[in-house]
Amino acid sequence: METNQSNEISQTPEVKRPHYLIQAWLVILLSVFYGAILVYVQIHLGPQIEKNKTAATFAQIPALVEGADASKTESLTITGTDGKPATVYRVKNENGEAIGWVFPGSGQGFGDTIQLIIGLDPKIETLTGLYVLDQKETPGLGNFITGENFRGQFAGKSVLVPLRAKAGEPENPEEIRAVTGATISSTAVCDIVNATVAKYKEAALTQN
């Protein structure tokens, strides 16, 4: 069957073929059909996937802000300076006192969007921790941003001055040692931290 069809094409190249949209009727029909399958899957699984992401964020809160009690932590919906609503977390200790903030941040990395969660002190002046929720950086190079060696540098850094990634030993307090000499992934993480803090700081501090 296969060979017959290809012979037919090669022997009669001048045959008038129907309009390409008519030739592609099966492709078009299948696209609609498969699209419907994917919509169905997304409607059913989407909420569960979102729930998993939230659970992963909550699981990291004690590691991001010292002394945090994830069960007491409050989720707040605030509007960032970009005008879009976002969920941030007011972290509380076991006595219910606010001891910090966790902000979600994302931005373009080298491979794909990098998603971070960032821990901050109550006044939003100092970082207390950083965790990478999702990234598709180059394995063996950029994906070292998920490692403790890189992430650990952020705790204790001031966010009043924008952070910068630097290849080699940092010399100034706002510098972060990049994971590779090329600094693309490391710079992306620093930029996301700077942008996220700038975006939510004011809105978060005015929450009562």
Binding site: V41, Q42, L45, D112
Partner: protein, 204 residues
């Protein structure tokens, strides 16, 4: 016209004589990338088998409608749909594993095992034979991945499927085995072993 293999032949062929990993050397990307532990290898193998099974049946059902110059497009469209379904399922029910496998699940779309089965079997034969073919090749691929992952996880972490096999007191894990070079070395050694066994078997 050469007669095509029957359902039973298709099934058996996929497991040993045309094993995708060791005989055809197809699908090397997951073979090298996700075999540093058995759990990831099994998840990848099952995900690939699911996609293979669904796409083979789907392509087989529409095989008489396929136009030769549009068939690869239809294959890719079908495969991509089922890969997306599997990706979402993993993210919903096996979130940790889905994060560990990361971009390798979407990369099943370009896994040449699946497209080659659509081309060689599903676009020519009925859904039952195509399903048997998919299961055979799926089992063969699972064997390939798990055999490599077994060697790498035992030597590299001292465990198998998370259970301690070589306790740290008697065994210093070879961290190279869980890094990419370990994948190449293990694949090379196992391939050599398979070829050696086959040459012995043939001469006897």
């Amino acid at each position: 016209m050469k007669t095509l293999p029957s359902a039973g032949q298709r099934f058996i062929n996929g497991i040993i004589p045309e094993n995708p990993t060791y005989r055809l050397l197809l699908g090397m990307c997951p073979t090298l990338a996700v075999t540093n532990n058995v759990k990831a290898a099994l998840t990848m193998a099952f995900a690939t088998t699911f996609v293979l099974f669904c796409s083979n049946i789907m392509i087989s059902l529409i095989r008489n409608l396929l136009k030769p110059h549009l068939r690869i497009l239809v294959f890719t469209l079908t495969i991509a749909t089922f890969v997306t379904v599997v990706d979402r399922l993993l993210a919903a029910y096996m979130y940790e594993m889905s994060k560990q496998l990361g971009p390798y699940i979407p990369l099943i779309i370009v896994n040449c095992i699946i497209i080659s089965r659509c081309e060689a079997c599903a676009s020519l034969q009925n859904p039952f034979i195509s399903a048997c073919d998919a299961l055979g090749v799926g089992i063969g691929f699972t064997l390939g991945l798990v055999s490599i992952a077994t060697v790498r996880e035992i030597l590299g972490s001292g465990t198998w499927l998370g259970f301690t096999i070589l306790p740290p007191e008697i065994w210093t894990p070879w961290s190279i085995m869980i890094l990419p070079p370990g994948a190449f070395m293990t694949l090379g050694v196992l391939l050599a072993a398979v070829n050696y066994i086959q040459s012995k078997y043939k001469t006897e």
